[in-house]
């Protein structure tokens, strides 16, 4: 059964449903009485259950099923919602999110069957003993028929006992209404294999697959788990009439066939559960299943592509533009025949307009609202506030601001970091706030808006702000700045100290003033996205972190330079300035070339050397003046000597492909107007 084609849809839709569940839960927390919300969560849980069931994700289906059970009681008014119940629902939500993440990254939901959580639901919400008791049909007798098995199965079982594994005879009977018996049995086998090793099956696995069985089938399994776990796992599967798990140690139900003894000595080795898959077992009866589960695993590890949901309107727009392109193409063909240059000129202008619009349209297709990232923050703030005993109101604005999908994926962590910082270190405890005459409820604001060619995200709090004196003192102690600098340093520069890598690990700073943990990580991340970050702070009043991000990563402004006959693109963002220096002023210091530029030593790299470019023989090799592009990384600078500047250009970044990963100092490639390729320089590698 190949479900891979539906996997993307499943993940995307589950995420959407979970997102709405999250929102509803947050609303529900404020208004316990709203039965509409309960209905909504019920509906979401039900939808997820349905989807997960279809996809064969039994853990998800089971958990949502329990949620439904619980919510049903709330719906019918038997119990009242309270914060304990909401906490449990939040936990369920977290668990579901984990499952979906696991599905996304591994292609399966994992082994966690959330037994504890389900217990918790039952204890908190259902309170009374509503445990669903497995019906055991009378004809499924307590003493199952004796099984005749080979000696190697016997050996395997004995070995299991020696290693303190449990061996069970698992008997499963399917419901008579079961339509796809083989499929159902397959799920049972899968479930069993997730916690146990099947060493024997009756009828054989092949027969079960070919549906050559009635309603019952039996397995001998060895596992560390106990019979309850097995039972609870199997109970969850639909259309199963009864499950019996008998410990082989207790019940003498095996009858060993002594005919082919001792040939299988030592062939069966027990592994810890985690090693199961990569271990080839040469025991005859198990190898069949092993191979199967291996191939199955391969199949179930699908490639999950990144997808973007696009409004049909945007696609229509694209379509229109493409049709215009076709019109202009025919128009150009016509011009060829009548050959007037004014027409030609007009046509190219028209073409230019279309390509610009087309570019915009395609960019828009890649855009996703920041809402996608922001959505998780209300929950996070709620949890943090509870944990720290602070009263916090989170305000969000501009959720519909759009950013490139790639940026959206990356920006989450830095934002979490900043918000945590604000709440953890910035905002005072309610009592302290009241003393200071502030409102007891602190406000954390998250604002996104677009500004020209970039998008700005601001994280603002009305907490304590950052004490610059403390930072300066710390920097002095750590030797980041000298005592003269300490006197002279401006507030702006002092704030920048926070982003120094050295500060991030300094525990003392955290204890004193906060705002130091990992800010350099945040900065690095944002800079790697082509953005930057600033801090505005005022002591006692709060601080504001301003992140500026490019609208898209795919297109950048770059400076095209020429070295010998080769052309390279240097991202404009990383260029500080362009200047000329005299060859004669370059000095060698410990094998590195430096030059004194504006009274600062500037390391010099020669592009031709870094890229092993063969020097063209020049007429005036005496030429003393060298063109230097000064690039920056944080507050470090390096001068790169190039032969010639071609000009500034908007370039589309293309990857070099998988075959050429990790090429030193190259970030990608771009296709120039004449169809040739220029490589994009990774300036960070010059530092």
């Amino acid at each position: 059964m190949d479900m891979n084609q539906y996997l993307d849809i499943f993940i995307e839709e589950s995420k959407e449903h979970l997102q709405s569940m999250n929102q509803i839960l947050l609303q529900l927390e404020n208004d316990h009485a709203d039965i509409g919300m309960i209905n909504e969560i019920f509906r979401v849980a039900h939808t997820i259950k349905g989807m997960a069931g279809t996809m064969g994700y039994t853990h998800i289906a089971h958990l949502t099923h329990e949620m439904e059970n619980a919510l049903q009681l709330v719906r019918s008014g038997e119990i009242k919602i309270d914060s304990a119940i909401i906490d449990v629902l939040f936990q369920c939500f977290d668990k579901l999110e984990k499952y979906v993440d696991a599905v996304e990254s591994n292609g399966n939901e994992g082994d966690d069957d959330s037994t504890e959580l389900i217990e918790l639901i039952k204890n908190t919400i259902l309170k009374k003993d509503t445990e669903i008791i497995m019906q055991e049909r009378s004809d499924f007798s307590k003493n199952p028929t004796k099984l005749k098995v080979d000696s190697h199965v016997e050996n395997a079982v004995k070995r299991a006992w020696e290693k303190e594994y449990n061996a069970y005879l698992v008997s499963v009977e399917l419901n008579t209404k079961c339509m796809l018996k083989a499929a159902r049995a397959y799920i049972v086998i899968n479930e069993l294999e997730s916690i146990a090793e099947i060493i024997y099956s009756s009828p054989s696995i092949e027969d079960i697959e070919d549906e050559k069985f009635d309603l019952k089938f039996q397995f001998i399994v060895v596992t560390k788990a106990d019979d309850k776990v097995i039972k609870s796992k199997l109970k969850n599967i639909m259309e199963i009439e009864a499950v019996l798990v008998d410990d082989l140690r207790e019940n003498n139900i095996l009858e060993f066939d002594k005919t082919n003894e001792d040939t299988f000595e030592d062939t069966f080795a027990f592994e810890e559960k985690s090693d199961y898959d990569d271990k080839k077992l040469d025991d005859g009866s198990t190898s069949v299943e092993k191979n199967e589960s291996n191939s199955d695993e391969k199949a179930s590890k699908p490639k999950i592509g990144k997808t973007v949901r696009v409004e049909i309107e945007r696609l229509d727009n694209l379509m229109n533009l493409v049709s215009e392109l076709i019109i202009i193409k025919t128009r150009l063909e016509d011009i060829d025949s009548d050959g007037t240059s004014t027409n030609m000129h007009e046509a190219t202008e028209y073409l230019e307009r279309i390509t610009t619009s087309l570019h915009d349209a395609v960019m828009k297709v890649r855009m996703v609202p920041v809402e996608r990232v922001f959505n998780r923050f209300p929950r996070m703030v709620r949890d943090l506030a509870k944990e720290l005993g602070k009263d916090i109101i989170l305000k969000m604005r501009g959720q519909d601001t759009e950013l490139d999908r790639t940026v959206i994926d990356e920006i989450g962590d830095p934002l979490i970091h900043l918000i945590r910082n604000s709440i953890d270190h910035g905002i005072e405890l309610p009592s302290a706030r009241e003393k200071l005459g502030k409102d007891k409820d602190a406000i954390v604001e998250l604002i996104a808006y677009s500004d020209g060619n970039s998008v700005v995200i601001e994280v603002t709090d009305d907490g304590a702000g950052i004490d610059l004196d403390v930072i300066k003192k710390k920097a002095l102690e750590k030797g980041t700045i000298t005592s003269e600098e300490y006197q002279a340093i401006s507030d702006d520069d002092a704030i920048k100290l926070l982003f120094n890598a050295g500060f991030s690990t300094a525990k003392e700073v955290t204890d004193l003033s906060g705002r130091g943990v990992g800010l350099d990580v945040v900065r690095t991340k944002i800079e790697s996205l082509g953005g930057n970050i600033e801090i505005n702070t005022s002591l006692g009043k709060g601080s504001k972190f301003i992140i500026r991000l490019p609208l898209t990563l795919a297109i950048i402004q770059a400076l095209l330079v020429k070295v010998s006959s080769e052309r390279y693109a240097i991202p404009l963002k990383s260029i500080k300035e362009i200047t000329t220096i005299c060859e004669s002023k370059i000095r060698q210091i410990q094998g590195n070339e430096v030059v004194l530029y504006r009274n600062v030593t500037l390391p010099i790299k020669r592009m031709a050397e870094v890229f092993n470019i063969k020097e063209e023989i020049k007429d005036n090799s005496e030429e003393d003046e060298k063109l230097v592009v000064i690039v920056k990384k944080g507050n470090k600078t390096v001068g790169i000597i190039v032969d010639d500047l071609i000009g500034q250009q908007e370039v589309v970044i293309k990857s070099l492909g998988k075959y050429l990963v990790n090429v030193k100092a190259i970030a990608g490639a771009t296709i120039l107007g004449n169809g040739s390729i220029a490589l994009i320089v990774d300036t960070n590698s010059f530092f």
């Binding site: 080769e566 070099l656 492909g657 075959y659 190259i666 296709i671 169809g675 390729i677």
Partner: protein
């Protein structure tokens, strides 16, 4: 097996004096040699990247890959663009002479021969009308580098 089955068809090309074959299923297009931009600091046999209709495709000089001396590209030179798994890669060869069907019974497995190459990229030798076609193991050719990464 059906004679026209695509699995038995090979794109045949020439390198030095020998003919080589690549299963047609891997071949995306055959291109004349276009502008190639050198990629500094890449392996010696990677001559650079080419623009294949808006896509940046790395190009390997198969001569260098096989340890032969390089040659000047000329009118006959071709780039065979392969697509395997999600990888697109160009192979620069001396010339290409079309597609041949080689049945399995006319392929000798490489194990019979003493390999003249350092790495073992030969999958077998195909015999067609008295010609010998060296069948290249594309996966080995490409993946050795990927694994090294």
């Amino acid at each position: 097996m059906n004679k026209s089955d695509a699995t038995n068809q090979y794109v045949v090309f020439k390198l030095k004096e020998e003919y080589y074959g690549i299963p047609i299923s891997y071949v995306k297009t055959l291109e004349k040699v276009t502008d190639i931009t050198r990629v500094p600091n890449a392996e010696e046999y990677v001559i650079g990247v080419m623009n294949l209709r808006g896509e940046v495709v790395p190009v390997i000089d198969l001569r260098l890959r096989f340890g032969f001396e390089a040659n000047e590209k000329n009118e006959d030179s071709r780039t065979i663009v392969l697509s395997l798994d999600d990888l697109i890669i160009g192979l620069s060869v001396d010339s290409s002479s079309g597609v041949l069907t080689i049945d399995d019974e006319n392929i000798d497995s490489a194990a019979k021969f003493i390999n003249s190459f350092e790495d073992d990229y030969i999958k077998g030798i195909g015999k067609v009308d008295g010609r010998m076609i060296i069948l290249v193991d594309i996966h080995k050719l490409v993946n050795n580098k990927l694994e090294a990464n």
